[in-house]
């Protein structure tokens, strides 16, 4: 059976600076895969290569049987790939409603785009209450919800999320994670979740990948990674591994 996303031997970087080396990754439908690693490990670069914002220098990308490399970034959303970049990436000058409409503009089925927008409002009531507000008037948490909601209007199969909990209050972090869990369980959405907060990421993930220096150094199901990376009352975890790759 083919995976939803298959990444093989991926290398990418910025100009002469190589960041990713020989990265392999598989994401199955309805699965959350956490991408972990310290600052500069290549997590954001991986997402940017997946969505096409940077061009890989080697390797293969395959979304449900379609090779992605030749597909320009504007077209990848049409194949079911949605990327929510870091920093609560709403368009600050546009209203909540305009941001959401923007997410569905490419769709030919306008009626369904409108339906998807209504569903997002039902799923995220704080947005429904602030429809006419400009993006820059929202709180950080609301902006993050809006950025995710806007991606959902495209009805993606695979959602790439870059640090969705960065700078959010604990309550909002819990809310974002609960949203991801719900989308996976109810809609079968697959998620690649880049997160600095290892505990938070592994609390919702099915699988995890640990990046260091642009290479995959550890991969496994979330429970195993939790045991080896996070200290708990019963087990100290692998302190050396944690120090080496996560820096704490």
């Amino acid at each position: 059976m083919t995976s939803l996303l298959t990444v093989g031997g991926l290398a990418a970087g910025y100009g002469p600076v190589a960041v990713l080396h020989d990265v392999d990754l598989r994401v199955e439908a309805g699965q959350i895969v956490a991408v972990l690693g310290a600052n500069g490990a290549g997590k954001t670069t991986l997402l940017r290569a997946l969505s096409g914002l940077i061009r890989p220098t080697a390797g293969t990308l395959d979304l449900a049987g379609t090779p992605l490399i030749p597909v320009p970034v504007e077209e990848r959303v049409r194949l079911g790939l949605a990327h929510v970049p870091e920093g609560q990436a709403v368009v600050a000058e546009l209203t909540v409603d305009e941001n959401l409409r923007l997410g569905g503009l490419w769709r030919r089925d306008r009626a369904d785009a409108a339906r998807a927008r209504d569903e997002v409002y039902q799923l995220l009531p704080p947005l429904a209450a602030r429809r006419r507000h400009a993006g820059h008037q929202l709180s950080g948490g609301e902006r993050q919800l809006l950025a995710i909601g806007r991606a959902l209007v495209a009805r993606p199969r695979l959602l790439l999320l870059d640090e969705p909990c960065l700078g959010l209050a604990p309550l909002m972090t819990a809310r974002v994670l609960a949203l991801l869990r719900r989308l996976r369980d109810e809609n079968g959405l697959a998620v690649v979740l880049v997160e600095q907060n290892v505990a938070a990421a592994l609390s919702v993930a099915d699988q995890g990948v640990l990046l260091a220096g642009g290479r995959v150094v550890l991969t496994g199901d979330a429970g195993t990674l939790r045991d080896s990376l996070l200290p708990t009352a019963g087990a100290p975890g692998d302190a050396a591994l944690r120090h080496a790759y996560l820096g704490f």
């Binding site: 969505s51 077209e75 049409r78 600050a92 409409r101 923007l102 503009l105």
Partner: protein, 293 residues
């Protein structure tokens, strides 16, 4: 008081032209962070096209339409053919290339039409109506203000009410996010250049009959004044361009009318610019200062 009224009306009419030209600069600035120094030359080229069409068909209005269409087309050619290849992270390069385009366009116009001054007749009477002995407004001034009002309303509707407008705004404010959402940002930049250059052509068609006449460099002065107006309004803001343009037009007229020395007008515009920038460094209607908290 009569004089004040007349100077205001006349200032608003020339301000409407500055507003239109400022709008064309703002559209391109928003789309690609480029100050289009070639805008004046593109507008003059459109006006020459109108002159040729009118000379052949004896219809001012066919020439008028040709100027708008030709301006839009020339904008597309300049963006697709030249400006697109300037790296986005090198704004100074874009300025130099735009100045180069300006020189080429002006040079070609000089070769085709010669550098002689050609007077451009107004399509409507320029004599001012007098109501009870009080100077009010000329039919041509009404036409100028009306044409600009139609343009501003059309652009406002396009940007706020249509799917294309939403795409244009997203591509201008957040190009990377827009691309991730499936907006073809490069195409939106081309559309912005077409709209902007058509607006610039309209400004040229409206201003040249008011004594400027047609030479390859006829719009240079308007460019400088309109650029100042755009900066006063905040380069990012279409509303700012319109308000800045009208304000500059009126100020120029008051100073020229009351001080009697046209050279003081330029000084007054600069003073206005300095005052506005001291109080609001981003311009009157500058956008969101902090894009992301």
């Amino acid at each position: 008081m009569q004089r004040f009224g007349y100077l205001t009306v006349d200032g608003l009419a020339s301000g409407a032209v500055y507003a239109t030209f400022a709008l064309s600069l703002v559209l391109i600035w928003r789309a690609g962070r480029i100050v289009n120094f070639a805008q004046g030359a593109i507008a003059v080229a459109s006006a020459y096209l109108a002159w040729s069409v009118t000379a052949h068909t004896h219809s001012y209005w066919l020439g008028f339409v040709a100027a708008l269409a030709g301006g839009a087309l020339l904008g597309v050619v300049v963006e697709r053919g030249v400006m697109r290849f300037v790296p986005a992270d090198r704004p100074m390069d874009a300025v130099i290339v735009a100045v180069g385009v300006m020189l080429v366009v002006q040079g070609v116009l000089g070769m085709l039409y010669g550098a002689d001054h050609r007077p451009v007749p107004a399509p409507l009477p320029t004599g001012v109506w007098r109501v009870g002995g009080v100077a009010t407004v000329s039919p041509y001034q009404l036409f100028v203000v009306g044409a600009v009002a139609v343009l501003v309303a059309a652009l406002a509707l396009l940007f706020t009410r249509t799917r294309l407008g939403l795409r244009l705004r997203a591509a201008a404010f957040a190009p990377e996010v827009a691309r991730l959402l499936g907006v073809r940002v490069a195409r939106m930049t081309t559309v912005a250049w077409a709209l902007a250059s058509a607006a610039g052509a309209l400004a040229a068609m409206l201003v040249l009959p008011s004594g400027l006449g047609l030479t390859p460099t006829a719009m240079d002065g308007v460019f400088i004044t309109a650029f100042t107006a755009a900066v006063i309004g905040g380069l990012d803001s279409a509303v700012g361009a319109v308000v800045g343009g009208l304000a500059v037009g009126v100020v120029v007229n008051y100073v020229t009318g009351y001080a009697g020395n046209p050279n003081l007008a330029n000084l007054a515009v600069l003073a206005l610019l300095v005052i506005v920038l001291l109080v609001r460094p981003g311009g009157l209607f500058s956008g969101v200062a902090v894009r992301r908290a």
